[in-house]
């Protein structure tokens, strides 16, 4: 269950000959990085929202996989990709709702429930999705945005994509806007930082935590469907292997800030491409590179939390801000009204 991920990004393997060919290849490479990162970004934004509210949804690896399977199965049955996305969002939201309810309502450990659900959903996806392996279903059609896609380089990279990729842009922008430019977004950060203070200001802490967890879960579900209906056409067990754990790592690496989380996801996309291109030259390195987000996540946490680094960070605040920021202070805790 723990294996390095390598996904082929076919465009990037063409061997360039002329200068123009080379420029085209670079464009294509960046285009594929942006496309490859899109579902990961949607999932990581969802998890960021959940964690900002103070809840850890540890089930992401399972949620993504079960929703990828369900999304594909429903779209296959309905003959329409959009229906599949809807079903996947419901699956992700339902798993998140179980975690939220068991934490808020039953006072169970979020970690325990999230972990069990991760493993359960992984197996459930394999079990229920068995008969869909190898089927071809509907896909998200490419959607070239006129005019914008004619911009040199950026047009090809950013605007010659499809709806899922545009949705990932919207997710980054909307999450950022929500956190930093809206009242509910400011309140959600208060809930995750110091719930008793938010409660004293009249914010319904537990109700909002529940709904933000469900929203985050729905986004993870949509990301799952994006893998089976867009990035790859079809469903198989290893389709989203480890991408849920990577999404969790990205949220931490990105210091719970939507733009840095997105940057992390693009770096990971680039890493995958590099790994793929190195495959022939350094086979070992290529297989191992996709693991890189995890030690980076640990390093980011050490930088943020270690006492000795805090002292250093106080001297050079810029370095600290560059490397990460602290988790919402009440992350993973239960709020009880006295």
């Amino acid at each position: 269950m723990l294996r390095g991920t390598v996904r082929d990004i076919s465009d990037s393997r063409a061997t360039p000959r002329t200068l123009q060919d080379r420029a085209l290849a670079v464009e294509a490479t960046f285009n594929s990085i942006v496309a490859a990162a899109a579902p990961l970004i949607i999932a990581a934004m969802g998890e960021t929202i959940t964690e900002k509210a103070g809840v850890i949804n540890l089930s992401v690896e399972g949620s993504i996989r079960l929703s990828a399977m369900t999304g594909f199965a429903v779209a296959f049955w309905a003959g329409h990709a959009l229906v599949g996305f809807g079903a996947a969002a419901i699956v992700g939201a339902a798993i998140a709702a179980i975690i939220a309810y068991s934490s808020i309502g039953l006072k169970l450990n979020q970690i325990a429930v999230g972990f069990v659900l991760a493993l359960l959903a992984i197996d459930l996806a394999s079990f229920l999705g068995d008969s869909f392996v190898g089927e071809r279903g509907p896909r998200v059609p490419p959607l070239r945005i006129p005019i914008l896609s004619d911009i040199p380089f950026f047009g090809k990279v950013l605007f010659d994509q499809d709806l899922v990729v545009y949705a990932s842009f919207v997710a980054i922008g909307a999450t950022w806007w929500f956190f930093y430019r809206t009242r509910p977004g400011l309140n959600i950060q208060g809930i995750g930082e110091r719930p008793e203070a938010a409660f004293a200001r009249g914010i319904a802490v537990n109700k909002l935590r529940f709904w933000y967890t469900v929203l985050g879960g729905a986004m993870v579900g949509i990301a799952g469907a994006a893998y089976s209906l867009d990035v790859k056409l079809g469903w198989r067990e290893t389709l989203t292997l480890n991408l849920g754990w990577i999404a969790l790592a990205m949220v931490i690496f990105g210091g719970w800030h939507p733009l840095r989380v997105a940057l992390g996801a693009y770096l990971f996309g680039a890493l995958q491409v590099v790994a793929f291109q190195l495959q022939d030259v350094f086979p070992g390195v290529a297989q191992v590179l996709p693991v890189a987000p995890f030690p980076l996540m640990i390093l980011a946490l050490v930088f943020v939390y270690a006492d000795w680094f805090k002292k250093l960070g106080d001297k050079f605040p810029r370095i600290r801000n560059l490397l990460g920021s602290e988790a919402p202070a009440a992350l993973g805790t239960v709020f009880e009204r006295e």
Binding site: L2, G4, L117, F127, P283, G284, Q287, V291, F294
Partner: protein, 349 residues
């Protein structure tokens, strides 16, 4: 933890989980009772099947026993997967390089596995005690680093002559294999079973009969009080990681030298994460992990039959286990919510 109070909700939860499992089978048009029969038959139906089940049981109870220790200390050792992998890597290194007869090499692989797992667990421990990195994030990260290392070794430095493939390294020479006992026409994994049973007894004795175990429990239940009572909490946390990691590392040795007889990228077999489910279900009790782990591997091993005979995906076993654990957790919480049944201290005003 008072077991009698949770026994009835646990039974109801297991029954409900089986009900959901049967409903799932019906939903996809499979004969439920035939499937359940195959689960039993596939794991316990013949001597060779029992031998396979017991070989799978050993690493699971080794890892579970280690987790009982870390859970007792209040730690979520999610890094157990990585500790198994590093244990297996260390054992493989010894198996590949140490010359000599089996009675030298096999014990050396066991020690190497334990040391490997211990070091990897201490990494997560030091990150926690000295870097304030929560063991869940640290452990999860180290799991993937270990997995990456295993993959790298298999297709890189330790690749089979001429071929770089993820199917594994060369098979170890036979002296490095854990010897089996021939009986009833099949080989029995006596050494892994012995290691597993010894680990359970060791953990039981540690927690039940020693000052170390008692203080560990104290740290797990209330680190602050424990510190004020003079217990060096960090040392105990690291101690728990060391023991848990050591046992997980031995589980890795078993995987490498008794089961695969080589290093493969997925050497852990997922037993680390499965062991977390075992321990959640066992209510952190060392005595209960033996039978529960046996049930778990029986379901896992047996479910491979579903694939062969009913062409159902073998993941059904995992689904069933996951639902059982989830329902037992919920059952416990609901029982605790009942008035008078509270398992948590009531707050005074």
């Amino acid at each position: 933890m008072k077991r009698s109070r949770t026994a009835i909700p646990t039974l109801i939860a297991v029954a409900a989980a089986l009900g959901v499992g049967i409903a799932l089978l019906l939903a996809i048009g499979a004969p439920p009772f035939e499937a359940l029969r195959l689960l039993v038959d596939g794991s316990l139906g013949s001597a060779s099947k029992i031998s396979i089940t017991l070989l799978a049981w050993s690493p699971l109870i080794l890892a579970s026993a280690g987790l009982v220790i870390t859970f007792a200390a209040g730690l979520w050792n999610i890094g157990v997967e990585g500790q198994i992998i590093i244990g297996a890597i260390a054992a493989s290194w010894v198996a590949r390089t140490l010359p000599g007869p089996g009675w030298v090499v096999v014990p050396a692989t066991i020690v190497a596995g334990a040391v490997g797992g211990l070091i990897w667990a201490l990494l997560a421990g030091v990150l926690k005690t000295h870097g304030n990195v929560h063991e869940i994030f640290g452990g999860l990260g180290l799991d993937f680093v270990a997995a990456g290392l295993a993959t790298y070794l298999v297709i890189g430095p330790w690749k089979r002559a001429g071929v770089a493939s993820t199917s594994g390294t060369d098979i170890f020479r036979e002296e490095a294999w854990m010897p089996e006992l021939q009986a009833f026409g099949v080989g029995w994994p006596v050494i892994p079973i012995a290691l597993g049973l010894v680990s359970v007894v060791l953990v039981w004795v540690l927690l039940r009969g020693t000052l170390f175990g008692l203080k560990l429990k104290a740290v797990g239940n209330n680190a602050h009080s424990s510190f004020l009572r003079g217990i060096p909490t960090n040392r105990y946390i690291l101690g728990a990681f060391a023991i848990g990691g050591g046992l997980a590392g031995i589980a890795g040795t078993v995987q490498a030298t008794a089961f695969h007889h080589k290093l493969v990228p997925a050497i852990s077999g997922g037993y680390g994460f499965l062991a977390i489910l075992v321990v959640l279900l066992a209510g952190y009790s060392a005595v209960a992990i033996g039978p529960i782990a046996l049930f778990f591997v029986a379901v896992s091993v047996g479910s491979t039959q579903l694939d062969l005979r009913l062409s159902l995906d073998s993941a059904f076993g995992g689904v069933l286990l996951g639902i059982i654990v989830l329902f037992v957790l919920f059952g416990g919480a609901w029982a605790a919510k009942r008035p008078g049944g509270s398992l948590t201290p009531r707050k005074e005003p």
